[in-house]
């Protein structure tokens, strides 16, 4: 018996739950201008998120997937990307997408039942929100392959949940990334729950990061509530990817502080105590504490920025609420580049029906 391979999974945390630096941190930890900008982005997302939930509760939005508690990992991922990189979200990563230019009104449009939400202002090549779990991972791998074939120094990034890391597509994506040395960064956002299914029911693996070993990829676990750690892991992975060094699997450990979506009631299946404990580790508080300790932020700035966020969000909400429905023809017009004869006839019939009633 001889050992033919061995592996380690590292855990990355700089900023602890109290906002104290726990390890020799990367330059970002001292770049307060950037940190403040990122913190503001996180706060914007949180304000937007609360408003969206409220809109749903009052019947002005369909089912909505809250991102409460994911601000550090989402903004950490989104801010690390360059415009020419490609982002393949699931359905929750608004924080990442806002960094890239997607507008809040587009998020609302999508959850408001209107395909135009996916016609992002953000990078036009980014993938749309992706409901079929984990499938986005393979789209990102395909994008990464396209860039590699065209010798473009771009990376593709997908986000997938702890639940999604069980699905075929996730394994397929990281495996092909390893086999073909693709510039893909796969970020597993382990928020402990897949609707009502806890992380431990998904897999017997001690960490989700170690799934990368199966693909022969570098993999690392980060504290997903620590913006600095997320950014550090992303920066390293993206640089490797863009330079032709291949892919990375990052597990970002965080917590879904909200219900799964507004259609869910998490009290059915998880303890208040667990949620309460998770609030103590949430990502905003610790970053704020750190910024305040370094005089980069204070209560006044917090209030002022919150007010501005609220105003911006209101404007976005209004734009959404004032949007007119698409005409009935919109059902037909994007099915193919050109309308086949059959469909053209059905389209005519639908128009006639509209006019008839």
């Amino acid at each position: 018996m001889s050992t033919c391979a061995s592996f380690q999974i590292e855990h990355l945390q700089y900023l602890d739950a109290e906002g104290k630096l726990r390890a020799a941190a990367p330059p970002l930890a001292k770049d307060f201008e950037q940190l403040v900008a990122l913190y503001r982005q996180m706060l914007f997302v949180r304000v937007f998120d609360a408003k969206s939930v409220a809109l749903q509760r009052t019947g002005k939005l369909g089912t909505y997937a809250s991102c409460l508690g994911h601000e550090a990992v989402h903004v950490g991922v989104g801010s690390a990307l360059r415009p020419e990189d490609c982002f393949a979200p699931s359905y929750r990563e608004y924080g990442a997408q806002f960094c890239r230019g997607v507008q809040a009104r587009e998020v609302l449009m999508y959850w408001g039942g209107d395909e135009r939400g996916n016609d992002y202002s953000g990078p036009r090549h980014d993938f749309a929100w992706c409901v079929p779990i984990a499938t986005q991972c393979l789209h990102a791998a395909g994008a990464a392959l396209a860039y590699k074939l065209r010798k473009e120094p771009r990376a593709a990034v997908c986000c997938v949940g702890d639940g999604g890391s069980s699905k075929a597509d996730f394994y397929g994506a990281i495996n092909v990334t390893g086999a073909m040395t693709l510039p893909l960064v796969a970020v597993i956002i382990n928020n402990q729950w897949a609707i009502s299914v806890p992380r431990k029911a998904q897999t017997g693996a001690q960490t989700l990061a170690q799934k990368g070993i199966a693909a022969g990829l570098p993999c690392v676990q980060v504290d997903g509530n620590d913006l600095i750690a997320v950014r550090a892991a992303m920066d390293t992975a993206l640089e490797r990817a863009r330079k032709g060094g291949g892919g990375t699997v990052i597990e970002a450990v965080t917590y879904r502080l909200s219900d799964h979506t507004t259609a869910d009631d998490a009290r059915r299946y998880r303890d208040d105590a667990e949620v309460k404990a998770a609030w103590a580790r949430e990502p905003m508080k610790r970053l704020r504490a750190y910024l305040e300790a370094h005089k980069a932020w204070d209560e006044k700035k917090e209030e002022a920025w919150k007010a501005e966020c609220a105003a911006r969000v209101d404007a976005e909400v209004n734009a959404y609420l004032e949007s007119k429905s698409q005409p009935v023809t919109a059902m037909f017009d994007y099915t193919y580049a050109e309308l086949p004869v059959d469909l053209a006839r059905q389209r005519e019939a639908a128009i006639a029906r509209e006019q008839g009633h």
Binding site: G113, D114, V131, A194, R268, Y269, F332, H357
Partner: protein
Amino acid sequence: MAQITLIEAVTQALAWEMAHDPAVVVLGEDVGVNGGVFRATQGLQQKFGPERVIDTPLDETTIAGLTVGLAAQGMKPVAEAQFEGFIYPMMEHIACHAARMRTRTRGRLHVPAVYRAPWGGGIRAPEHHSEANEHLFTNIPGLRVVMPSSPARAYGLLLAAIRDPDPVMFFEPKRIYRQYKEEVPDDGEALPLDVCFVLRDGSDVTLVTWGAQVKETLEAADALAKEGISAEVIDLATVKPLDFDTIAESVAKTHRCVIVHEAPRTAGFGAEIAARLAEHSMFDLYAPVERVTGYDTHIPLFRLEMKYLPSVQRIVEAAKRTLTV
């Protein structure tokens, strides 16, 4: 004996069969403590324990394949796809194994499994939560495709599906999960599979449908009655294998037929019914068969979805067209 909804009838059938047959297990995503995202399995885990009501990892391939393995080894698994729009990764195991095990082994092994899924649109749900994809399975030999459209039929057909020694796709029209309640005795009485249900007798036109569209179709029959037109309404219930004789008999009487379904028109299952009518009932028909269906487009997100789904008015108009030829 309480009045229950269609989805409660699903739960009641599962509970009955689990209580009476220890081989029955339920598996899927969120079927356990949460009782399913629609509550179809509500309370079952408390009653029967986590060994019989099993939350699986989030992988439909896994659910489908485990189910084949369980069933081939003496269990009677009832697997759930959380929404029918997520059933695609189950297809290899369903088509190549569940549907084929008996044929492949000349009966040595077989797969008495049920694959349940909430089906269809109209509940203002997010993307991929509104699919009506029965066509994926209706051409596959060895499968049954069943779709209940009332609480009583949900109860009786699900019991039959679980007891059936062959694999059954059981699609639950979620739009009418809670449409109305009716008394459904919890007596373990199954309904026959492979049989259509005539929901309403009529003499002027036959309306054939299944799933959630039974609602609009019955309403259309009401509307037609007000105009003096007597519509017979047939609920396929078991889409595959098709009980065509019941339809043919009806059309022999009414001489007219409108088929109503939610899925896209082209190559939807309505085509099979119309084709059989063309083959076997051509000389009974006084008017061309009409199909009232979804368009050949993806069901739109919910702001437009009601413009996609067949409406009472479209059914009424089609019925009248068959009467004016």
